[in-house]
């Protein structure tokens, strides 16, 4: 199968391409950019005039809800949502039921995803068994089964000795540890940023210090144990500053931010809007601006969707009882573009935050259009408008604080391995 994508504007940050070029695909691989390979005659030609052609997006955090929470979403429904969002590779956390702490579960998940053939999935394995923070998992076996790294998801390791050992063990084999930094006791039972809004609404707060204290501890242990650390979903200005300082001091650390934290603040909770109940909590305007700025200057490496499909019933309860999280796979592109627009970031830079940067963090070979690479790519229009609502969202989770908001940036077509996984009608 030979495919020609012609007249599109190709953006491939890894290869420094930002120009109108034709893309040639042969047998599921990129065969040429701007220059046809020898003897190329297309079986299929796609006209991308006026559209952007980029590497397929890479998402660092998407909950697919399998195994265990099929009531909220299924692998199939969420992989379709990923394709609709232009995502071709994604990483999923291990906080499923059962927890992804055994090689068999990883193999099962990867195999089922391969069967659907809609996106590549790179599970993060549990750092400790059952995420209980007590006993290490078989990281080598899990890695062989396909884990891209190890994490505690939203669960703590209370015993610092265990945390230290987990870092040492992961570092032995060069595995990256993905952590959402949060001091357990300061966070416990909290549901919103510990500030003006939580005080007014009578919600239990989570101070920013819960994040920065943990970052400081983790950075210290990581430096001692020489562990590769990735901080997931930063939420505060202090966190950005700590990571900036660590990077300046030459510590190997990366970080991401969720699309929600780039655009929303504590005030979006308004009158107890449970769709704005998100982990970590939405914080102040100052925090939001610092996160946007940190992304701009490279302190924060990547943007993730933090996709968490939640069923309606789990949101139709008082704020504190509502399940945290928001649907995000299909909002990754428009909210990334919105950030770029608001901060005069070039499209080229924005695309790198959802392609080559997250791919590098995961240590996978996706996120670029080098000749010979898998033909995972996304064709989109950055200016097309659409409205977020229950019918425009493919994901089974319709829970988002952006409900009924107009978005700019629409995926026209997604390719995985040279075959079309999504096409807008």
């Amino acid at each position: 199968m030979k495919i020609l994508i012609k007249n599109g504007h190709v953006i491939d940050p890894k290869n420094d391409i930002d120009a109108k070029q034709d893309v040639y695909i042969v047998a599921g691989k990129i065969a040429g950019i701007g220059k046809a390979p020898a003897d190329f005659s297309a079986n299929q030609t796609i006209d991308a005039t006026g559209l952007i052609v980029s590497p397929g997006f890479v998402d660092l955090c998407a909950r697919l809800r399998e195994p265990g929470d099929e009531y909220k979403a299924t692998l199939e429904s969420e992989l379709h949502a990923a394709a609709a969002g232009g995502i071709t590779s994604l990483s999923c956390p291990p906080d499923t039921d059962p927890v992804l702490d055994e090689p068999g579960l990883i193999e099962m998940l990867k195999q089922r995803a391969r069967k659907h053939n809609l996106a590549r999935i790179y599970p993060l394995g549990a750092l400790t068994q059952k995420l209980e923070g007590k006993t290490l998992t078989e990281m080598c076996e899990l890695s062989e089964a396909g884990c891209a790294g190890f994490t505690q998801a939203d669960k703590p390791i209370l015993d610092t000795q265990v945390l230290w050992r987990a870092f040492e063990y992961a570092a032995t084999f060069g595995y990256t540890v993905f952590l959402r930094p949060e001091e357990y006791f300061l966070t416990k039972e909290g549901v919103a940023h510990d500030g003006e809004v939580a005080s007014r609404l009578g919600l239990k707060g989570i101070p920013s210090a819960a994040e920065s204290l943990m970052i400081a501890s983790i950075l210290r242990i990581a430096a001692e144990t020489k562990t590769n650390i990735h901080f997931c979903r930063l939420s505060s200005a202090d966190a950005v500053e700590l990571v900036r300082e660590a990077k300046n001091n030459g510590i190997t650390v990366t970080a991401d931010v969720s699309v929600h934290h780039l655009h929303l603040t504590e005030h979006d909770i308004a009158f107890f809007n449970t769709h704005a109940h998100i982990k970590p909590p939405l914080r102040t305007l100052r925090d939001k601006e610092a996160l946007c700025q940190g992304l701009m200057d490279g302190t924060i490496d990547a943007i993730c969707s933090d996709h968490t499909p939640v069923d309606d019933d789990a949101k139709l309860v008082p704020f504190a009882e509502a399940e945290a999280g928001a649907t995000g796979l299909e909002l990754l592109l428009p909210l990334t573009l919105k950030w770029a627009n608001n901060h005069q970031s070039a499209l080229f830079n924005a695309i790198s935050k959802i392609t080559i940067e997250p791919a590098t963090i995961l240590g996978i070979s996706s996120g670029h259009l080098s000749v010979g690479a898998n033909a995972d790519l996304t064709i989109f229009s950055p200016e097309s408008a659409w409205v977020v609502n229950t019918s425009s969202i493919t994901s089974q989770g319709k829970n988002t604080p952006f409900l009924n908001t107009e978005m700019l940036g629409k995926v026209h077509c997604t390719f995985l391995n040279g075959h079309i996984t999504y096409q807008a009608n």
């Binding site: 003006e196 007014r200 009578g202 009158f271 107890f272 309860v317 008082p318």
Partner: protein
């Protein structure tokens, strides 16, 4: 900004929190309550404003005083009243709040009076009910207790009519108190120029000064020259632990004794939303003194609740 408590024409649709209500609405409720104070002193303690209406008191959390005064208020307005203690029935069977509400809607209830231990529960219910049903928040978590806030300012107005010239201090557990939040909003909306909160740092919400109050940690300094002292109840579970070391120490530092009260203006009034912990937040010598207006608060509570329900039912100007 969208306000879930008001109709498009600015009239009251639900009573969920003091915050977000304009001064004129608060005054309307207070003035209407004035006209109901006399009803209790008549032989026939009833007015027909809610005749034929069904009011359902749903208490997801225990309460004696608030539930009773709401019941009396509804009955004095001639409504039919149903009391439901849900914490002892369906909630313990795991039924979702909105399922409980749906059942009561199906029974043609006209008004819900709701108490719940979670902040935002009344808002959730108000968003869910059909247009012809009103919701009155009788306390949601730490968030709001609007009729308590209103009856407190009503009491203050009766004893100290010059609201624009008052200094009011709230003392005790501000952090966990929906009463404190409602009082603060009611006082600031009505133009009380100086509202103080007096508490240890462990019992104050973060950035509380953004609610428009002056923060004091020292009770002597905080009580200096105030016209009104509003004491708050300290919940049993917070009396010792990481919030406070002991009730004795709390009483010593923040308990209202005659000596501390003497720092306030000589004619200062003392209020408490009840139930009181004598010897913890308040000395009996103060609670039973002529400066205390704690029982009148209860009496006025009925008039305020009658006023709120009558206005919501469209039966009072």
């Amino acid at each position: 900004m969208y306000n879930p408590q008001l109709n498009n024409d600015g009239t009251l649709k639900h009573l969920l929190s003091i915050e977000g209500l304009p001064k004129k609405t608060l005054l309307q409720i207070l003035d209407t309550a004035e006209s109901f104070v006399g009803v209790a002193e008549r032989d026939v303690k009833k007015v027909p404003l809610l005749r034929g209406k069904t009011v359902c008191n749903i208490f997801f959390e225990n309460s004696t005083r608030t539930r009773t005064t709401f019941e009396i208020a509804a009955k004095r307005l001639s409504a039919d009243v149903i009391n439901l203690n849900v914490n002892t029935s369906s909630q313990s069977k795991g039924e979702a709040i909105l399922d409980t509400i749906n059942n009561l809607i199906a029974m043609h209830t006209d008004m819900f009076v709701v108490r719940h231990n979670q902040s935002g529960a009344a808002h959730l219910i108000a968003q869910h009910v059909p247009d012809n049903i009103s919701v009155v928040n009788a306390g949601d978590g730490r968030h709001s207790h609007p009729t308590q806030g209103l009856l407190d300012v009503f009491t203050i107005r009766r004893y100290k009519p010059e609201m624009h010239n008052l200094r009011v201090a709230l003392v005790g557990d501000i952090l966990h108190s929906r009463v404190a939040r409602s009082e603060i909003h009611a006082l600031t909306t009505l133009g009380v120029p100086e509202v103080r909160v007096i508490a240890p740092k462990t019992l104050l919400p973060n950035e509380v000064e953004k609610l428009g109050v002056h923060v004091f940690h020292d009770m002597e300094a905080g009580l200096k020259d105030v016209d009104v002292v509003m004491m708050l109840r300290l919940q049993n579970e917070r009396m010792s632990g990481a919030m406070l070391p002991s009730t004795q120490e709390f009483f010593k530092t923040y308990g209202l004794t005659p000596e501390k009260l003497s720092l306030a203006k000589p004619d200062a009034i003392v209020m408490h939303p009840g139930p009181m912990n004598r010897g913890v937040e308040i000395d009996s010598r103060v609670a039973d003194s002529s400066q205390a207006v704690i029982l009148p608060q209860v009496t006025y509570g009925i008039a305020i609740r009658m006023a709120a329900m009558a206005i919501l039912a469209g039966g009072a100007a």
